[in-house]
């Protein structure tokens, strides 16, 4: 992993030095080894703080929409992030020519909630390799298999390799197993209608309306979200069932054909609400009905954004 960081640093240094980018978005070290932060590098000097490991929880594609099209952005992208960038390009949120993407095949994001669940918070050191995670707790090393600590979305990741990298660091990994996603969707669908509804209720009604899921999601970039409208109001802003149900259902529906299954929403949630069971189902449907997967290229419109006179259903004309 140290090699990877050092190669990444060299590449970013070069991009900044030859002024082919204005800003490079990656991660940096923070006070706690568990919490690397998104970072914005504008000069080579700051790169001593550069960090890249499986604790980098955020989807950096999120920051793309904060810049005007003219800003030349460099970014480190994993599989899901690269597809996020494509999805945003399809939606005209930036210009491909003004992006330089350094791709890293991804072994999955380690869920810090799982680490804390196992070991508590007093962790003073962290290291990893492709199969294991090692943490230092009260001076002692503890090693766990990576699989046990991976975020749930990453356990069923389909495309760990960046699809649009200008520079690729590391060897491509085998693609994921679609049956893992299907298994999860199927097990939810196998429940009775009441059980599905109760599951949904139980998850949604814990919501505290902090909108961390929305803010952590790169595809939620509306200047004004439907929940923030007050003329007219679309939904209650309280934590009543009416308000929380509406938020979670509509948030998920707005992701149909747009979600890249990065899991950033669940990782951000302060009350551990599961959300990807909804978006995974939508992704499955979109694939089955429209043969479309989000972000595999930067041209194809998602089915619900596309207009086509040959549309099978004649509801348009």
């Amino acid at each position: 992993m140290a090699e990877l960081v050092s190669e990444l640093r060299t590449q970013i240094e070069r991009l900044l030095a030859d002024q082919s980018i204005d800003v490079f978005i990656a991660f940096k070290k923070a006070d706690s080894p568990l919490r690397p932060q998104p970072a914005f590098f504008r000069s080579g000097d700051a790169l001593t703080d550069l960090e890249y490991n499986s604790l980098c929880q955020n989807n950096l594609g999120n920051y793309l929409t904060r810049y005007p099209n003219e800003t030349r952005i460099g970014m480190v992208v994993r599989g899901c992030e690269s597809r996020t960038v494509n999805a945003l390009l399809v939606e005209k949120q930036h210009i491909r020519e003004n992006l330089t993407l350094i791709g890293v095949p991804c072994h999955g994001i380690v869920d810090i909630k799982k680490i804390i669940e196992h070991y508590g918070e007093e962790i003073t050191g962290y290291s990893e390799n492709q199969t294991d995670i090692t943490i230092i707790l009260q001076g002692k090393e503890h090693t766990l298999p990576r699989e046990e600590l991976l975020h749930d979305s990453c356990l069923r990741c389909l495309h760990p390799n960046p699809v649009n990298a200008d520079i690729l660091i590391g060897d491509p990994l085998p693609e994921g197993d679609p049956s893992l996603v299907r298994k999860k969707v199927d097990s939810f669908e196998a429940l009775s209608r009441d059980d599905r509804y109760n599951w949904f209720k139980q998850e949604a009604e814990r919501c505290i309306r902090c909108y961390a899921c929305r803010e952590a999601c790169p595809m939620c970039y509306c200047t004004e979200c439907f929940v923030d409208f007050n003329q007219p109001r679309w939904t209650e802003s309280s934590i009543s069932p009416a308000g929380t149900h509406a938020w979670h259902i509509i948030r998920a529906f707005h992701q149909a054909g747009r979600c890249t299954s990065c899991g950033a929403c669940e990782r951000a949630c302060p009350v551990d609400i599961k959300m990807t069971y909804l978006t995974d189902k939508l992704n499955e449907d979109i694939l089955e009905i429209y043969n479309f997967e989000t972000g595999m290229n930067d041209e194809t419109q998602p089915p619900f954004a596309a207009f086509n006179m040959d549309d099978k259903k004649r509801f348009v004309a």
């Binding site: 929880q57 902090c210 909108y211 009350v271």
Partner: protein, 340 residues
């Protein structure tokens, strides 16, 4: 004077109280903890090294609270009956209890008394649980508190061996524990040592002296842009904060209710004006507001820092922003930046 509460008898004790009070304790929900009403089926969570993830301010200031109901048959508004049944809040950490005291200055001020807060607050007995091993994310001692602070509490427990050692701090607290056996002098000394050790373990996280003046000076600094750059603008830090008290009043017309909901300065719509103008248009201004409120404006208003060092905003920020680091960097800003 210190009483001995045997750990294995804790459920019996709580059940006995539950006959006369609603007893609220920290309990596990999914992978986090929250204060919830206790009954025989409850799983107590008193071994967590820190406070509950969901803040206990919600007990007196629920996230969603009905203020008025419209009675369409009689064509009039009806006040909500605020709950005033006696409650025991058991196992709250000193940071959260001292936050109640800070919130009192807002909701029980001379100019304005909030009946919703007041009624619930006054009918509660607050029993604290000190922190033997404060984690790295906590910084109560930096902001004038401590892992065994008494502020806002009626009694304070210290965890040691088979017992919770109970210090009663008010008459309300005494009434709960006075039938228990007394600790020996030797035991009392031992408890004092535990308390001191915990407090000594906590190194200052940043310098508070002169911090307010520094923040006031760097109000226009580009520093705020830098620290807000990675901020997502979600409401986690403020909603989980035990001292954030902002709320938004809405009329749920279909349900004929006037409701107040927690609100947060981290949201764009918080400061959005009807004209379309927003005086805090970006994360820069909003992050600045959050820090300035706690570390400058509270000082202007009541002479105290509006943060109890509970560590929630540090632990649960989805991008790992740490208020302690932000304040440290703020106090290091050079004057050249200030005038830039």
């Amino acid at each position: 004077m210190m009483y001995l509460l045997e750990k294995k008898k804790i459920n019996t004790e709580l059940s006995a109280w539950a006959k006369d009070y609603e007893v609220i304790t920290p309990q596990k929900v999914e992978n986090y903890t929250q204060f919830l009403p206790f009954d025989e089926s409850s799983t107590l969570e008193l071994t967590n090294p820190h406070n509950t993830r969901y803040p206990p301010k919600a007990l007196f200031f629920p996230q969603t609270e009905t203020m008025l109901t419209y009675n369409s048959r009689l064509g009039r508004f009806e006040e909500t009956q605020v709950r005033d049944e006696p409650r025991i809040i058991f196992g709250i950490r000193p940071c959260d209890a001292s936050a109640f005291a800070l919130m009192d200055t807002v909701f029980l001020s001379e100019d304005y008394t909030d009946p919703y807060w007041k009624t619930k607050r006054e009918s509660a007995i607050v029993v604290g649980l000190g922190c033997n091993n404060p984690p790295q994310t906590c910084f109560c001692t930096t902001v004038g508190g401590g892992p065994f602070n008494h502020e806002g509490l009626d009694a304070l427990l210290t965890d040691h061996g088979e017992f919770f050692f109970v210090q009663v701090l008010t008459e309300k607290g005494r009434a709960l524990f006075e039938d228990l056996p007394l600790a020996s002098e030797e035991q009392v000394n031992e408890i004092k040592k535990i308390q001191k050790k915990a407090s000594d373990k906590m190194a200052p996280a940043f310098e508070t002296k002169g911090l307010k003046q520094k923040l006031d000076i760097i109000f226009e600094s580009s520093y705020w842009e830098k620290i807000a750059e990675s901020c997502l603008g979600c409401g986690i830090c403020t909603f989980l904060c035990p001292t954030c008290f902002c709320f938004d009043i809405v009329d749920e017309v279909q349900r004929k209710k006037r409701i107040r909901n927690w609100d947060t300065c981290m949201f764009r719509i918080y400061s959005q004006e009807a004209s379309g103008h927003n005086p805090r248009p970006s994360n820069r201004e909003r992050t600045r507001q959050r820090l300035m409120h706690k570390y400058s404006y509270w000082l202007d208003q009541i002479g105290e820092i509006g943060c109890t060092g509970c560590g929630r905003c540090v632990r649960y920020c989805p991008v790992g922003l740490d208020i302690r680091a932000m304040l440290r960097i703020a106090s290091q800003q050079e004057s050249e930046v200030i005038h830039a």
